[in-house]
């Protein structure tokens, strides 16, 4: 998603929001809610998790508007908060810390129900949560491996290897050999 609010308008909107204008905050929310929700949905397991991230992100935006200096893209600033909130869940939920691509745990019992050839949306859903997050952050949002590693609390080589293995999986699934 690109920034839908021009910089001058963003500065004016933020100034009004900082002065306590709830209407200006709502305008910010309406402009970015779909972008934040889409990012959150790609980085989390369920729609409910993504809704929680959406709410946490905008509460943080409301609290921290003073820290946006008005120099860079407002959407870029909001997006970083959203990514951070979504990825923070991995750190909080230790139970998923052992999830790795090779385990195929997300496929599990439903394996026989998987169609022979998947479309990209379905194939992405089939990737483990953490791996899907790396693919989305890197290939769609344009984060570097260093930035992803920092946000996820992992190493750069982890991010690179997850991306490579995810693309190998996607290739197999998209070409029709579901294994």
């Amino acid at each position: 998603m690109t920034d839908t609010i021009p910089l001058a308008e963003a500065r004016s909107l933020v100034a009004r929001a900082r002065a306590g204008d709830i209407g200006a905050l709502e305008q910010l929310y309406r402009a970015y809610e779909a972008g934040v929700y889409t990012l959150a949905r790609r980085l989390t397991r369920t729609a409910e998790d993504a809704e929680d991230v959406l709410q946490e992100t905008f509460l943080e935006v409301c609290r921290s508007l003073k820290s946006w200096r008005g120099e860079g893209s407002l959407w870029g600033w909001v997006r970083t908060i959203a990514a951070s909130k979504a990825l923070m869940r991995y750190r909080r939920e230790k139970v998923r810390a052992t999830e790795v691509l090779d385990d195929e745990l997300t496929v599990g019992a439903a394996k026989e129900d998987v169609p022979l050839r998947l479309d990209l949306e379905a194939a992405m859903t089939r990737l483990p949560e953490r791996t899907r997050a790396v693919v989305w952050m890197h290939d769609v949002e344009g984060y570097t491996h260093e930035e992803i590693a920092e946000l996820m609390g992992m190493t750069t080589s982890f991010s690179k290897s997850q991306l490579a293995r995810a693309h190998q999986k996607l290739r197999r699934w998209l070409e029709g050999a579901v294994t």
Binding site: A15, G20, Y29, C62
Partner: protein, 196 residues
């Protein structure tokens, strides 16, 4: 010269403009690796073209309500802190005040500045600034004034910045009254304009 194809990780680095010289050369000359590189570029383009999703429910009412609650709690906590600072300022002033007309007039000035600040705070609260939209210029002015107010409050809440110099406390309270007065002016003007 290496006798192998590029790995997926190496090809992804080439795709992202970061590959080694060998990987780039190989991908440019090997048909299989060039095809795989093209496929990786296509997948990225298709990922970027996936549709944007809309949240299933409107979360704004929850967010607005939670934020208003937080702000109310913060204002209450800030006001409590300032009351404590005011009390401490008065105590320090009395404790260090030597006998003399100048110091008595400084004490009176401190009392007046605190009372004025409190009255202006009540006036501002009665204007309910959070319920009113402001035009861009006024919004920027209000944001600047609120920043100044926050800086003054931070100093008042830190006794080290004025404890050794009672006159400094009175000056901070006078500055605070000045900023509050300007904020009241902005909002009173806005109310008047809205009523026209």
């Amino acid at each position: 010269m290496m006798d192998r194809h590029t790995t997926t990780e190496e090809l992804l680095a080439v795709r992202d403009g970061e590959g080694t010289a060998w990987s780039k050369d190989h991908a440019a000359t090997c048909e299989a690796c060039a095809a795989e590189l093209f496929r990786l570029e296509q997948v990225r383009a298709q990922l970027k073209a996936l549709p944007v999703m809309a949240p299933p429910r409107d979360r704004w009412p929850h967010i607005a309500s939670a934020f208003k609650d937080e702000r109310r709690a913060r204002l209450l906590s800030g006001a409590t802190g300032l009351l404590a600072a005011a009390g401490l300022a008065a105590l320090v002033f009395i404790a260090v005040r030597p006998a003399g007309g100048d110091k008595a007039s400084e004490a009176a000035a401190l009392d007046r500045a605190m009372a004025r600040s409190q009255a202006l705070e009540q006036t501002l609260s009665a204007l309910s600034p959070e319920t009113r939209a402001l035009p861009g210029d006024a919004a920027a002015a209000v944001a600047e004034l609120e920043d100044r107010l926050a800086r003054i409050d931070a100093r008042l809440n830190d006794p080290r910045s004025w404890q050794g110099n009672p006159g400094q406390a009175a000056q901070l309270w006078q500055e605070r009254s000045g900023v509050l007065s300007a904020l009241v002016d902005v909002h009173v003007t806005r109310v008047a304009q809205a009523g026209l």
